[in-house]
């Protein structure tokens, strides 16, 4: 009996150890010598069903067409990608090609984690991608990623409510100014209905991007010794939103603690007639809007200009890769115009490929693609993405300060003091 137990224990231990060893032989993954195919790892952050399918289809197509360069698709996630990449850079296990965004590339470049692609990129991809998008991934002479998806801000509206109030909808050629938007919101505000809801949970990125409407930079010398500023141009957007909240009372105060997705139930219920938001929100509207709900995408608002700050989602190559040429070849295939149409459609974001932006699929008025795609030419590199220490400035100073201002707890002057004085104290640490 005892010997039976020992045999059973040994067998169980063996099984467990065998199971635990699973995958051990699958690390590494290089090759490329002696006729072996080159093996690349590519970490994507795509998460919407259509975007994931597009990623898989493109990688499959590449692997089929390139038996000598095989790509393994890894799935990352937006919420933890930074920690995960930093750790894998330190440990030398970073994927050869990785998906992330332009705001982090300078930091990664300074640390020597990403490859400068300037010597590897073909003229074809350089010409196809918009100049303004390249700016977001170019730091000095170095190109640390290939930009491929961008978001812009537009306005969504309940067409039924607007038409019932006799509001003439703006067009791409004749968009509303901020003043006109405020006037229409006031007109649409009735008992139990606000003209607009402006989601202001963590508003810094959006405010800074929209500040470009009025020429607001928020920082002097962003690529050098950046200093926060809060002059007339920077004050325009927050002041106008505050006026809608507390002077006109045409924007619902509910928006102060809401994300864009949080605002949808009230928008569908007719509590808010208009909802400024990013173009990807269309996907949620298509999926979640109740039957018969008639919504429309309105063009981006205009200030002194229609310019908006933007960052890009990018594909970069790890500095530690053993196969930089092959990695860039894969990126160029992955981001060709045809594939960018699929990727943009899957994530409901703008492609950076000028050819892709012409495709009928990305200009379909039924889902607001025509309006979304029209914003592409107005996107500029968001100056803040070059500022060292911006992420801490944003999370520790700007987001809480904007929240206090939009909650009417502090004045515009006090907001400026926080952003500038307290903000510069943060930035100073990064410039030592």
């Amino acid at each position: 009996m005892r010997s039976m137990r020992i045999v059973a224990l040994a067998a169980a231990t063996g099984l467990v150890l065998a199971a635990c060893g699973g995958g051990d032989d699958e690390t590494g993954g290089d090759g490329g010598s002696g006729g072996e195919p080159v093996e690349l790892t590519f970490q994507t952050l795509a998460w919407q069903t259509a975007a994931v399918e597009a990623n898989e289809a493109i990688v499959d197509a590449w692997n089929e067409a390139n038996p000598d360069i095989q790509v393994e698709l890894l799935q990352g996630d937006w919420n933890n990608v930074h920690d995960q990449l930093m750790t894998s850079f330190e440990g030398g296990t970073a994927p050869d090609v990785f998906h992330y965004e332009s705001t982090v590339l300078q930091d990664f470049g300074d640390r020597g984690n990403v490859l400068d692609l300037s010597e590897y990129l073909s003229d074809e991809i350089r010409d196809d991608i918009r100049e303004g998008a390249w700016d977001t991934a170019t730091f000095g002479d170095a190109v640390y990623g290939v930009p491929f998806l961008q978001e812009s801000q537009v306005v969504f509206a309940n067409r039924t409510l607007l038409e019932a109030a006799g509001v003439t909808l703006p067009t791409v050629d004749d968009p509303w100014t901020w003043d006109e938007f405020a006037d229409v919101a006031a007109q649409l505000t009735t008992e139990g209905q606000f003209g607009a809801v402006i989601p202001l949970n963590a508003p810094a990125n959006r405010i800074l991007n929209l500040a470009r409407n009025f020429g607001g930079d928020y920082f002097t010398d962003p690529a050098g010794e950046a200093q926060a500023v809060f002059d007339a141009a920077e004050q325009e957007v927050p002041r106008r939103i505050h006026e809608m909240l507390y002077t006109d009372r045409s924007a619902s105060p509910d928006g102060i603690g809401m994300s864009s997705a949080d605002a949808l139930p009230g928008f569908f219920a007719g509590q808010y007639a208009m909802l400024p938001g990013a173009i990807w929100l269309r996907q949620q509207l298509v999926e979640q809007a109740p039957d018969g709900f008639d919504w429309v995408t309105l063009p981006a608002l205009e200030g002194d200009s229609s310019a908006q700050g933007a960052v890009s989602q990018t594909l970069s190559v790890s500095a530690s890769t053993e196969h930089p040429e092959e990695a860039v070849q894969f990126i160029e295939f992955f981001l060709n115009a045809e594939n960018q149409v699929q990727l943009a459609a899957g994530d409901w974001l703008l492609p950076t490929s000028q050819e892709a932006a012409q495709s009928p699929e990305l200009n379909d008025p039924a889902t607001g693609w025509d309006v979304a795609t029209a914003t592409a030419d107005d996107l500029e590199m968001a100056p803040f993405q070059q500022v060292k220490g911006f992420e801490e400035w944003k999370s520790r100073i700007a987001n809480p300060a904007f929240q206090e201002y939009f909650s009417d707890q502090i004045s515009l002057e006090e907001l400026g003091t926080k952003l500038v004085d307290e903000g510069n104290a943060v930035l100073e640490r990064y410039q030592r």
């Binding site: 467990v16 150890l17 199971a19 635990c20 060893g21 699973g22 995958g23 051990d24 699958e26 690390t27 952050l45 998460w47 919407q48 069903t49 994931v52 890894l74 799935q75 996630d77 937006w78 919420n79 933890n80 920690d83 995960q84 750790t87 894998s88 330190e90 440990g91 030398g92 296990t93 994300s259 864009s260 997705a261 949808l264 139930p265 009230g266 569908f268 219920a269 509590q271 990807w280 949620q284 999926e287 979640q288 809007a289 109740p290 039957d291």
Partner: protein
């Protein structure tokens, strides 16, 4: 005689019912959410019971992510971590409870100190260590980390249980000629059952739910655990696909619920009743 009044009894049951509702609500909401359409999830007044029950969320969850494979991976990792933690903790806890030496006290302090370090502080050194040992991206590496991470608490918990076992029982065993190992196996271990189950549950649930270590230490999609799979339903800017996420989370909860159901009977104490005459 200590009799409750009818009012007291009623209040006790009301409090118990309230507590049950409090505990059951998240599970109920998870079930409800998993059965709703995207349109119903976006209603301004959320419904308790779905108007149009749909299983599309389950279909989407299983189609899009390898839920079953992740669940089996997690079961293996959590199960082995649980067993190893308990097996290593029992003798260590016994020594710490029964042998009051300087070393024992120092170990106790070290165990407490080890709980102070946050995950994020140790993750990079741990990652480098496992990579150098060839344990990066393996179950063995992840299990080793989970055992080391949950053992201090399990040890502390079991030590308290050992201290409640009267020393006279061991003396009686010794009088009957039992060795220390035999005493530990035949006398102490059975009496420790509730403590072992509690420590085992703790180790299992910790490993089952753990995310950050798995994120950093596992790269191969084939080896990914449930928490890594579930997070894929949450995207940029924290926007979640609530329906499939709830469906996948519900499915993911089932094995740990079964584990609890099987083990909870063992949690009940009372094994010492009548063991020693006082």
């Amino acid at each position: 005689m200590n009799r409750s009044t009818p009012v007291g009894t009623t209040l006790k049951y009301v409090a118990l019912a309230a507590y049950l509702v409090f505990l059951a609500f998240p599970l109920f909401w998870l079930i409800s959410t998993s059965l709703k359409t995207p349109q119903e999830l976006a209603l301004i007044d959320p419904t308790w019971i779905p108007n149009d029950i749909t299983f599309d969320n389950f279909r989407a969850a299983f189609d899009e992510q390898p839920i079953v494979r992740s669940m089996l991976n997690t079961l293996l990792v959590a199960g082995v971590s649980c067993v190893v933690t308990v097996v290593l903790s029992i003798p260590a806890a016994y020594v710490m409870a029964r042998y009051r030496s300087v070393l024992s006290r120092m170990t106790l302090v070290w165990v407490l100190l080890s709980q102070i370090f946050p995950f994020i502080l140790v993750i990079i050194p741990l990652f480098l260590l496992l990579r150098d040992l060839g344990l990066y991206d393996t179950y063995l590496g992840l299990i080793a980390v989970y055992v080391v991470w949950s053992m201090p608490f399990a040890l502390w918990m079991l030590r308290s249980y050992v201290e409640t076992i009267p020393i006279e029982l061991e003396e009686a065993a010794a009088m009957d000629g039992a060795t220390k190992v035999r005493t530990l196996r035949s006398v102490i271990a059975p009496l420790l059952a509730p403590g072992v189950v509690a420590a085992g549950l703790f180790a299992f649930v910790s490993a089952w739910n753990e995310f950050l270590f798995a994120l950093v230490l596992i790269r191969d999609p084939e080896l990914q655990t449930l928490s890594l799979t579930l997070v894929k339903f949450i995207g940029a800017e924290g926007v979640a696909r609530l329906g499939p996420l709830a469906a996948a989370s519900l499915v993911a909860t089932i094995p740990s619920l079964i584990f609890f159901a099987v083990m909870q009977r063992r949690l009940t104490g009372g094994l010492l009743g009548g063991a020693v005459k006082s």
